[in-house]
């Protein structure tokens, strides 16, 4: 794979330089006028059952074929709007939520959407207990109690949580793909061996979304068709044709020839090469992925606060985003991605070798400090690691890079066997608790506890007071206060924790210039096809 990557880069680069001097001479191909043709890598899809899917491409498809009770406005960052529920409220007790269903909505099958379908869907998530189920089960639902906790009556659904959580936390979680409402009658008619229609929903859809799935071939393509008379207003384009095109240079050629309308798989080299082509426009928005380096606190030298601080000053954040990460990453130094409630944008740390040297002197550790850092074998990560290795060396830290396959590096990380590790993290649902919980909360710092899902535990990080603050923030019912709490937690975490936050990833979408209103969903939501025009 390493060789493949190098070859690909070399090929793409040469191709870009070659293309710079030429212009396609032949006539442009045309995509069908009523169809949006997209090139993307969709081989990450494991399932398109909305209560099982947890991959980007799968949730993109689900966002357009299903609706949730509460939604995020695709055109505005993080604003909640009514979905299949026209209104909702939380009772004085802080644990009882009531959703009033929007009348007159039908599923693709023609069945009316009832409160019963909504209650069934949320119960189904908990009973199936697939990967994304935790987004709902964290409110205290279990397969045993869920029928009592989530109930319906007439046109309302009632939802009881085990503790009085921040309402914004509950609503944000319901906007995730796992909150999709499915057609109970259709799904149960296709049940096999008590799977609640899980097998059937891996190749069919049964929702209320703007589109219906016509065909799906894994790692190849899917076709969606717009529904007529959709409650939100009809989709602008009748069909969406998604093609699995994993290679950047191939995407670029297809886009330039007009054989696809949108590409979500173009690289920096391709984008650079397309500059000056009036037929192509590139849109950039932020994605949810955060890149960070973390230090195992079981290593005595790395538990030294001065050493950690020295390392924060010994990384050339700007230098990287201005060179090999140009356009791909933005400097970001807090655990919440921009776009989340409570996210902060300040970046106080910058490369300062003298300061780092002084801090290392003060720390009292033996210099030069010899440590290793594990890195996944991918181009941008190894590039980042080499830059860090270089600047660390100038400050007096000899960094050995240990480069391995993803699962290998992850295995070592989960076993707390690393010194430093360069990693990325993407949020699981559109609420700040998703990252706060993993970067801060560590219920038991012993090796035996095996809290491998927590990044704090993996680094043997004892968060002290920050943990109490994080637990309070997820309960805060005043959203403005809640925001301020996260801002405070992140600043302290940034300056004291063993996590060195570096970058937030960018989403880059290249499209033909006649395409408008293509919303990727940014950091908090999935892509929206129904507003796109051409």
């Amino acid at each position: 794979m390493k060789l493949d990557l190098t070859l690909r880069r070399a090929g793409a680069f040469a191709l870009a330089s070659f293309l710079a001097g030429t212009a396609p001479a032949a006539l442009m191909a045309q995509t069908p006028a009523d169809t949006l043709v997209i090139g993307d890598a969709i081989d990450d899809i494991v399932s398109i059952d909305p209560h099982e899917a947890f991959e980007f491409s799968g949730t993109d498809l689900i966002n357009n074929t299903y609706d949730t009770l509460v939604e995020l406005d695709p055109t505005q960052r993080g604003v909640l709007v009514p979905g299949l529920a026209e209104s909702w409220e939380v009772a004085e007790d802080g644990v009882t939520y009531t959703f009033k269903m929007r009348p007159g909505v039908t599923f693709a099958s023609g069945n009316p959407v009832r409160a019963e379908d909504a209650a069934f869907s949320l119960q189904r998530v908990v009973k199936l207990n697939k990967t994304p189920a935790f987004i709902l089960t964290q409110f205290g639902f279990t397969p045993e109690n869920v029928e009592e906790m989530i109930t319906f009556d007439g046109d309302t659904v009632t939802f009881k949580t085990d503790q009085p959580y921040a309402p914004s936390f509950v609503y944000n979680c319901l906007t995730a793909a796992v909150g999709a409402i499915v057609d109970k009658e259709t799904v149960m008619a296709n049940e096999v061996n008590g799977d609640m229609g899980n097998e059937w929903l891996k190749s069919n859809t049964a929702g209320t979304g703007a589109y219906v799935l016509l065909s799906y071939k894994p790692s190849d393509s899917y076709i969606l068709e717009a529904r007529e008379g959709h409650w939100r207003g009809d989709a602008k384009l009748k069909r969406v044709f998604m093609r699995h095109i994993p290679e950047g240079a191939t995407n670029r050629l297809l886009l330039e020839r007009g054989d696809i309308d949108v590409s979500r798989e173009v690289t920096s080299v391709d984008i650079e090469g397309m500059e000056g082509n009036a037929d192509i426009r590139v849109e950039t928005d932020l994605a949810g992925y955060i890149y960070y380096i973390s230090a195992n606190q079981k290593n005595e030298a790395l538990a030294n606060p001065k050493v950690l601080e020295a390392m924060r000053w010994a990384i050339d954040y700007q230098g990287m985003t201005e060179s090999f990460l140009q356009g791909e990453q933005t400097v970001h130094q807090a655990f919440l991605p921009r776009g989340y409630l409570g996210a902060i944008e300040e970046t106080p740390y910058a490369l300062d070798i003298e300061k780092a040297k002084a801090l290392l002197e003060e720390s009292g550790v033996e210099l030069p400090l010899n440590i290793s850092m594990s890195v996944r074998n991918s181009q941008n990560r190894t590039d980042m690691a080499q830059s860090v290795q270089n600047t660390f060396a100038q400050a007096g830290i000899n960094l050995t890079l240990s480069i391995g396959e993803g699962a290998e590096v992850l295995g070592e990380y989960r076993a707390r066997q690393h010194d430093l590790t360069l990693q990325s993290w993407g949020p699981d649902y559109p609420d700040p608790h998703t990252n706060a919980s993993t970067f801060v909360i560590n219920g038991d710092n012993s090796d035996e506890a095996q809290l491998t899902g927590s990044l704090a535990w993996r680094n043997a990080y004892d968060p002290g007071e920050l943990m109490t603050m994080t637990q309070a923030a997820v309960m805060e019912r005043d959203t403005d206060k809640r925001r301020a709490m996260y801002e405070d937690i992140q600043r302290q975490h940034r300056d004291t924790s063993p996590f060195i936050m570096m970058f937030q990833e960018n989403n880059r979408t290249a499209m033909r210039s006649n395409i408008s209103n293509f919303y990727t969903g940014g950091t908090v939501d999935s892509v929206t096809y129904w507003l796109t025009e051409k």
Partner: protein
């Protein structure tokens, strides 16, 4: 994937009493079984010793220790390795290749989906390789040292040494991007592709055959314009190999005494070369062609990636990197069967071409 070793000959003593056809079939079945078992064993062991944890590859970043353990047990990874292998082989014999860990689909269904695309591409690529490679090799052999020979040599050398990724991108850029002579990456244009998915009955999974059977000739032509470039790029490599081998077999053959005799008798030179010599060259050449065909049938990851061609190569490679052993083993079985079958087919062809082998 490595090439299967040539099938061992069946023990003549025990089977010699049976009719020839039965002997042939019995011997083939035996060699198929031994080859596959060996292949599976090696793949299985490699899959277990690589430092990639298959459980982690499935459960991912977020999993708790309890989820991790549950998955490990569900996969039967707590059993001793020999037992895991025995269970796998037992199921495989009954046609159950297991579920892909990554996609959670049946491996056999996945392979049925990906293999036709590879088969279609590899067949046309091999046709290209043979139709160009054999005449080129003959021409070079009959005119050694001339400019014809030099050109065949240089073109062949380029086929060997140019990375297929680079060649593919360049071909795409020139013939699709700039000249617009052929269809782009993918098996059909977007519009046709949707029609194919929705309106055409997919009997074989091979677009050229399915569209022809459905009488969709516009779509058929479009499919040809899409397959021409990737098959030429793939076929180029086998063409290089075939033309070099043809040249050397032919040079050898043309030095034989019967050729001199034929020439002395006044037989036209074209007949000497294209009929008498070529007929004898065909015998070793069949093996060369069959092996290069088998090689292409494994699927070429790079070509598939550039041409957005949903084939077996990408499937097996993706599975390998995800430590998805059922998918890797399933792919290995298919490649193994392909090798043994083609070996058998070339053996049969031998008998047709060479009377001494009958």
């Amino acid at each position: 994937m490595t090439a299967a070793p040539d099938a061992p000959a069946p023990p003549a003593g025990r089977l010699s009493g049976l009719p020839r056809v039965l002997r042939l079939i019995g011997g083939t079945a035996l060699s198929l079984a031994i080859t596959l078992l060996g292949l599976l064993l090696v793949t299985f062991i490699i899959g277990r010793v690589v430092p990639i944890d298959p459980v982690l590859a499935i459960v991912g970043e977020r999993a708790t220790t309890a989820q991790y353990e549950a998955t490990r047990l569900a996969l039967g990874l707590d059993e001793p390795m020999w037992k895991q292998f025995a269970i796998y082989v037992g199921n495989a014999v009954q046609g159950d290749l297991g579920q892909s860990l990554r996609t959670k689909r049946e491996v056999s269904e996945d392979i049925i989906r990906y293999f036709p695309a590879t088969l279609e591409l590899a067949t046309i690529a091999t046709l290209f390789g043979v139709l160009v490679g054999v005449p080129a090799g003959v021409l070079a052999a009959t005119r050694p040292g001339t400019w014809v020979d030099q050109i065949v040599r240089i073109v062949g050398l380029m086929g060997y040494s140019m990375p297929v990724f680079w060649l593919g991108l360049l071909a795409l850029l020139v013939f699709y991007g700039i000249l617009g002579w052929v269809g782009g990456p993918g098996r059909l244009d977007a519009g046709f592709s949707m029609m194919f998915e929705l309106d055409v009955e997919q009997r074989t999974g091979m677009i050229l055959i399915d569209t022809a059977l459905a009488g969709e000739w516009a779509m058929f032509r479009n499919a040809i314009s899409h397959i021409i470039l990737p098959s030429a790029v793939l076929g180029y490599t086998s063409m290089a190999y075939i033309s070099r081998m043809t040249r050397s077999f032919m040079m050898n053959e043309l030095g034989q005494e019967y050729i001199t005799t034929a020439r002395v008798k006044g037989m036209p030179e074209w007949r000497v070369v294209w009929v008498h010599a070529l007929k004898n060259v065909m015998v070793p050449l069949i093996t060369v062609i069959a092996l290069s065909y088998a090689y292409l049938l494994e699927g070429s990851v790079l070509t598939e990636t550039i041409f957005a061609w949903p084939g077996l190569g990408s499937y097996i490679t993706d599975a390998l990197f995800a430590a998805d052993m059922p998918a890797v083993l399933g792919g290995t079985v298919v490649v193994g069967v392909v090798f043994v079958t083609l070996n058998m087919a070339s053996d049969l062809l031998y008998r047709l071409v060479d009377p001494r082998a009958r």
